[in-house]
Structures are given as structure tokens and as C-alpha cells.
């Protein structure tokens, strides 16, 4: 596709349930990032993928959060046993990731997650 695609755009679920958020990066982008944006907060880095591996998982807030990427393309962020503090917008971004930090990131529109 032309841009980064995230699904679902909105997700409402009950506390304690598991959720899966999906990200389709721009074709050919090897780097993929997940961020969390809470109301009134900036962007909180969660995890970075280069290809299928995740050299930086330092932002995952707890072991309830995990992510994978397959085929160097689609990524899934999974939150187990959701808590109310998990409510936020989850943004995915991709970039060419050819090395160095001068490649801009291209963002999807996010998944708005609400935990009841």
C-alpha cells in the first residue's frame, strides 16, 4: 500500500482480555517501530524491529506486552490481560532503516485502545 496501515482503528475491550494490534508497514521498509501515545502525553517508544528481529525492546512496559514481525513485513503487538492503564493510542511507524538515524519514520493513523 501507499502508507503504513494499522488495524483495527478502534478497539474496545474488557479489562483482563487479550488484544492484538496489527501494523502493515510501507513495502520495502525494513525498520518498524511501535509507540504508545496516552492522552496529553508525548510518544512513548515501545519496540523497534529491523527485519524480523527486535534489537530494542526496552520500551515494553511489562511482560504482558509482546510483539512479533514476520516476513520482514507485518507486525503484531499483543497485550495480554489488559489493564485500564493500557488505554491509549498505539502508533506504528516504518522507515527505510538503511543505517544511521537520518531516515524519517512514516506513521500509521494508530489504533485507539479503550479498556473498560
Amino acid at each position: 500500500g501507499a502508507g503504513v496501515s494499522q488495524s483495527p482503528s478502534n478497539k474496545v475491550t474488557e479489562k483482563g482480555k487479550d488484544v492484538e494490534l496489527r501494523c502493515d508497514p510501507i513495502s520495502g521498509h525494513t525498520a518498524l517501530y511501535w509507540y504508545r501515545q496516552s492522552l496529553g502525553q508525548g510518544l512513548e517508544f515501545l519496540i523497534y524491529f529491523q527485519g524480523n528481529s527486535a534489537p530494542d525492546k526496552s520500551g515494553l512496559p511489562s511482560d504482558r506486552f509482546s510483539a512479533e514481525r514476520t516476513g520482514g513485513s507485518v507486525s503484531t503487538l499483543t497485550i495480554q490481560r489488559t489493564q485500564q492503564e493500557d488505554s491509549a493510542v498505539y502508533l506504528c511507524a516504518s522507515s527505510l532503516g538503511t543505517g544511521g538515524g537520518n531516515q524519517p519514520q512514516h506513521f500509521g493513523d494508530g489504533t485507539r485502545l479503550s479498556i473498560l
Partner: protein, 114 residues
């Protein structure tokens, strides 16, 4: 280590007047710097980037930013605000060594008054 400080959480301007959104950074290496804009319920869109070429960088929608190493600043400006500029703006720094970990500022909400 790198960091970025957006000096104003909210800025309000009248339509047709200049816009100034301030950003200061710190970096151990030669940084790459970016400004992104986020409209409500949308992802972030790249406005412009600095990557050690010209210090005055022109972006989309009439925005520009000047890299000032001596002041460690990368302020975003626009000569004349338009109603469609109302959004949140993020300044971003990357140290640009190997893995491109980036640091986002907390954002500046720009309000444009008709």
C-alpha cells in the same frame, strides 16, 4: 545520550500572523532533527528534516526550521498561520549512529484563532 525539549506546550496565534514553535536538543553526536505534525485522530506526518546539509531547512506547507548548533536549537517557523495549521507538533532528535533510536519531544499544540 540525546534529549529534546519543546519549550511551549501550547501556542496560540491569530490567522495570518507568524508561527514560532521552539525546540532545543542535546546530543553527543551530530544529530538528525525532525519536525512532525499530528492532526486529530491521525498519525504523525513529517514536516521537515535536518541531516547536516543546509542549516535552513524548508518543509511542507510553508514551514521551515533553522539548525543552530551554537544554541542547540531547531525552532519551527511559518510566516503566516493558516487555520489548517492547528495541530500538535513534535520535535524529534536522532543521534544517527547505527540503530536510529529517536527521541520525541512532548509536543506543542498550536491553536490558530480566526
Amino acid at each position: 545520550a540525546q534529549s529534546v525539549t519543546q519549550l511551549d506546550s501550547h501556542v496560540s496565534v491569530s490567522e495570518g500572523t507568524p508561527v514560532l514553535l521552539r525546540c532545543n536538543y542535546s546530543s553527543s553526536y551530530s544529530p538528525s532533527l525532525f519536525w512532525y505534525v499530528q492532526h486529530p485522530n491521525k498519525g504523525l506526518q513529517l514536516l521537515l528534516k535536518y541531516t547536516s546539509a543546509a542549516t535552513l531547512v524548508k518543509g511542507i506547507n510553508g514551514f521551515e526550521a533553522e539548525f543552530k548548533k551554537s544554541e542547540t536549537s531547531f525552532h519551527l517557523t511559518k510566516p503566516s498561520a493558516h487555520m489548517s495549521d492547528a495541530a500538535e507538533y513534535f520535535c524529534v532528535v536522532s543521534e544517527g549512529r547505527g540503530y536510529q533510536k529517536v527521541t520525541f519531544g512532548i509536543g506543542t499544540k498550536l491553536q490558530v484563532i480566526p
